[in-house]
């Protein structure tokens, strides 16, 4: 039944684009292709006089993208899914490519920005590739630290949120603590953490956990305590005991809220991770950025920033996917 409804929607959608508007097609194809071509030409013109060791990778990169744009084009003739996907992503990819082009013009081309601080995209790519080992290592360290800290914070937050949300008594004592201690940014504890803890990594993990703990606790407890009373009443008349009321009624009812807490906690954990790494820990992306800055290697700084962007946004996307799966029952009810 659900399936057939979805099929209907699909059908309607495919009908909308059923007669493939050839001109539109070509247009979307040309915008991306054109953008890559322009960027490549601009790059070749500008970097004529640069040392080729510095620009070689970027040239190869642009050529590869161009080749992909050309060779995947025929695929859309056979698959409507590819067609739809291309129509969807081409404009944004084209815009991204043109931004790269603009960046190169401003830096290497017109030299509008002071040089060591704002390297060209070619230079950044070169740094990224030449230092990939250390970058990979740093990413791995950041990942492990983030994962441990986040998991710890989520577990603690879910537990305390559950207790505070469910038990009136615990709420009475716990809420003031939460309200006073929680809003202190986790990074403000760094001086104390460095004194207290034997290892930088351990204190960074504790700080990340603290940063995650607060929003998760807050949102979990409010979700639990705002469970609709009628759901609890229904469950009671069905013979539910306390375990059922908590874990099969209150928790699922609070899940939308809990996910908001998880997202807020994730944002806070990124921030804390980077700050903690650049101060106390001697590894990870945050450390890498400040280390590269110390050597005035701004190409590496930018390379690390790009990795961070990709790394953090993948984790964020993953959490969105998990949420969509867990909250299927909300489908069509809430969108954020």
């Amino acid at each position: 039944m659900q399936n057939s409804a979805e099929e209907d929607v699909d059908l309607a959608r495919s009908r909308q684009i059923a007669p493939p508007p050839v001109s539109k097609h070509l247009q979307s194809l040309l915008t991306f292709f054109g953008a890559v071509a322009i960027t490549l030409v601009v790059h070749l013109l500008i970097s004529k006089n640069e040392p080729s060791a510095e620009t070689r990778y970027y040239t190869i990169f642009l050529c590869t993208v161009l080749a992909i744009a050309v060779f995947t084009a025929p695929a859309q003739l056979f698959s409507s899914a590819v067609r739809r996907w291309r129509q969807n992503v081409h404009p944004i990819l084209a815009a991204g490519t043109l931004l790269l082009c603009l960046w190169e013009i401003i830096t290497t081309g017109l030299r509008l920005l002071p040089l060591p601080y704002f390297p060209s995209p070619a230079k950044v790519l070169q740094s990224l590739i030449s230092d990939y080992k250390l970058l990979f290592d740093s990413t791995w360290h950041s990942f492990v630290l983030l994962l441990c800290g986040y998991a710890l914070g989520v577990l603690a937050g879910l537990f305390s949120g559950l207790c505070i949300g469910w038990s009136r008594q615990i709420r009475y004592w716990g809420m003031p603590v939460l309200k006073i201690v929680g809003p202190i940014p986790a990074t403000a504890w760094i001086p104390l953490a460095m004194v207290l803890s034997p290892s930088g990594t351990f204190s960074a993990m504790a700080l990340i956990a603290l940063a995650v703990w607060f929003p998760v606790t807050m949102l979990t407890s409010s979700g639990i305590s705002n469970t609709r009373a009628s759901y609890l009443d229904v469950a009671r008349t069905l013979g539910a005991g306390r375990g059922y009321l908590i874990f099969r009624v209150a928790v699922p009812a609070a899940l939308p809220n809990i996910f908001i807490g998880l997202f807020m906690g994730l944002g806070a954990s990124f921030l804390t991770l980077v700050v903690a790494e650049s101060i106390g820990v001697k590894s990870g992306l945050g450390w890498y950025v400040s280390w590269a800055q110390g050597w005035a290697e701004y190409g590496k700084v930018f390379a690390a920033l790009i990795i961070m962007a990709a790394f953090f946004s993948s984790i964020m996307t993953l959490l969105f996917k998990v949420r969509d799966r867990v909250l299927v029952w909300q489908k069509g009810v809430i969108k954020w």
Binding site: M1, R236, T237, L238, G239, G241
Partner: protein, 263 residues
């Protein structure tokens, strides 16, 4: 169809029940919602409760279910006093209140899961889904259901526990006339097969006469039972028989009087 092991129906008795709530405009004063309600249902009796909106019907059912406690008075089921909710007193709420995070099937199973009986009685779930004609919606989530379908699912969810006393708060209110009559017959059939003691709140006088052994008419501010009318028609009842229509106009007259009487 559901042909199930008999559970012993239980007698239900209320003596001098009063219940007040804090007034919404002034939390310091309390306003009586029910005053001095006494009634008793014999085991296996089906009693209908009718009365104007706000006269305390839902409040009364919540007290019997054990979800609220009365200010004064005694509630007993069999010889046991009612102190807390229990699976032996099923309540179908005025709103279906299906758990939105569970599929229809899992909603109907909820009572078995809560009591740890799912493994033992899984086969019954299909019976009840067929009873309320929701087999094809087993895996749909509640937001895909119409109001009537949701109410049917809620009915099945309460029935699966085989309660000794079944409390129904306008369970068929959201159904179209045709489905409604079908469901009335289903509920009756179920009641006759299992002889559950039933208390049915309804706004529909025809439904009350068609289904019940006895009708209680309530009047508001504060809610009390104004009149009890025995329905001595043999089953199955004919909605257009003379006796039926006479009862109907009798009750209508009474309700009209009760609705306009000064409090």
């Amino acid at each position: 169809m559901v042909t199930l092991a008999q559970t012993e129906p239980a007698a239900l008795s209320l003596r001098g029940i009063s219940k007040s709530f804090a007034a919404p405009d002034d939390p310091l004063t309390r306003r009586l919602a029910l005053i001095d309600i006494s009634l008793s249902l014999a085991p296996g009796e089906l009693v209908a409760l009718i009365g104007p909106s706000g006269c305390g019907k839902s409040t009364l059912l919540r007290l019997i279910a054990g979800l609220d406690t009365p200010d004064s008075g005694e509630l007993t089921i069999g010889s046991e006093p009612i102190t807390a909710p229990s699976a032996e007193r099923g309540l179908v709420f005025q709103d279906p209140n299906l758990f939105p995070w569970l599929t229809v099937r899992r909603n109907i199973e909820a009572g078995l899961v809560a009591r740890g009986l799912l493994r033992e009685k899984r086969a019954e779930v299909d019976d009840f889904m067929r009873l309320v004609r929701l087999e094809t919606f087993a895996n749909a989530y509640p937001h895909h259901l119409s109001g009537g379908m949701a109410q049917r699912a809620a009915l099945a969810r309460a029935l699966i526990n085989h309660p000794k006393v079944l409390l129904l708060d306008e369970p068929l209110g959201a159904l179209d006339a045709f489905t409604r009559m079908q469901m009335q017959d289903e509920v009756l059939r179920l009641w006759q097969a299992r002889r559950t003691t039933m208390l049915l709140v309804t706004h529909d006088i025809d439904e009350a006469i068609y289904m019940s052994d006895r009708i209680m008419i309530m009047t508001p501010t504060p809610g009390r039972i104004e009149r009890k009318i025995d329905i001595d028609l043999s089953r199955p009842r004919d909605r257009s028989s003379e006796a039926f229509l006479r009862l109907r106009s009798n009750i209508l007259e009474h309700l009209h009087f009760a609705g306009t009487a000064p409090a």
